[in-house]
């Protein structure tokens, strides 16, 4: 791809502009996958019969934390 570039030399202070510099055609890699939806995982576990209900996956109330 062609693009504009500003170049600065910190020793001389000289600044140049190149209006039509050739750059590689960059193809960015994928971003990280979306976060796991823990509610869907819980539904799958319930659906597969691995747990009785989503409530079985929760900590007790006095733990002040929920697994889901």
């Amino acid at each position: 791809m062609k693009g504009r570039e500003i170049s600065i030399n910190v020793n001389t202070g000289k600044q140049e502009v190149v209006e039509e510099k050739e750059f590689p055609d960059y193809v960015p890699g994928p971003e990280p996958p979306a976060p796991i939806d823990i509610e869907k995982v819980a539904d799958l576990l319930v659906g597969a019969g691995m747990v009785g209900s989503k409530d079985d996956l929760r900590h007790k109330k006095d733990d002040k934390r929920d697994a889901i």
């Binding site: 791809m1 062609k2 693009g3 504009r4 570039e5 500003i6 170049s7 600065i8 030399n9 910190v10 020793n11 001389t12 502009v17 510099k21 750059f23 590689p24 960059y26 193809v27 960015p28 890699g29 994928p30 971003e31 990280p32 996958p33 979306a34 976060p35 796991i36």
Partner: protein
């Protein structure tokens, strides 16, 4: 005796100061790249790069940090954490990504870069990206798989001329 028994060998009266090397505000039209040359990271040991970039278009651009004009993406690696309100994700790739400039908005990223003799330069960047209501926090670790002393850096957009007028790039050295 953590400080009194000979463990601390620095000179207490010595100081380090940040010296500004470059201060660029994009004007006269959007750019694809800002190249800063005449550097000597090995001598300075630490640089601080402060960027606030504005996207000139409606397409998301990846911002690369390249060194010594090495444009081969696979000569770099990065590892990242990203928090987007819905969760935290991590990822690693074989390219020089240092930030992501979402469509029609801005990114701020601040990066510490260091190098010691004979080893690869390493950079740690923290960024605030995306539109206000969709704010994303992102931390990027970046390594150039090349032990050559860094004498220039290039901040490059994966999309042609995505870095808009008004964008600022500042580089400091810690002396």
């Amino acid at each position: 005796m953590p400080f009194g028994g000979g463990y601390f060998r620095g000179t207490p009266s010595s100081t380090l100061t940040w010296r500004k090397l470059a201060d660029v505000t994009i004007s006269g039209g959007a750019v694809t790249s800002v190249s800063i040359t005449g550097l000597d990271l090995g001598a300075a040991k630490t640089y601080f790069l402060m960027c606030h970039l504005k996207n000139a278009g409606a397409v998301q651009a990846t911002i690369y940090l390249e060194q010594n004009a090495d444009t081969t993406l696979t000569n770099y690696y990065f590892e990242q954490f990203k928090a987007d309100g819905g969760g935290i994700t991590a990822g690693r790739a074989n390219d020089p990504t240092i930030a992501v400039l979402a469509a029609s908005t801005e990114v701020n990223f601040n990066a510490f870069m260091s190098q010691i003799a004979g080893v690869e330069p390493r950079t740690l960047s923290l960024s605030a990206r995306a539109a206000p209501a969709a704010i994303i926090a992102q931390e990027m670790c970046h390594i150039h798989d090349d032990t050559t002393n860094v004498t220039s850096i290039q901040i490059i957009s994966s999309v042609a001329n995505a870095i808009d007028d008004g964008s600022t790039i500042r580089l400091y050295a810690l002396d």
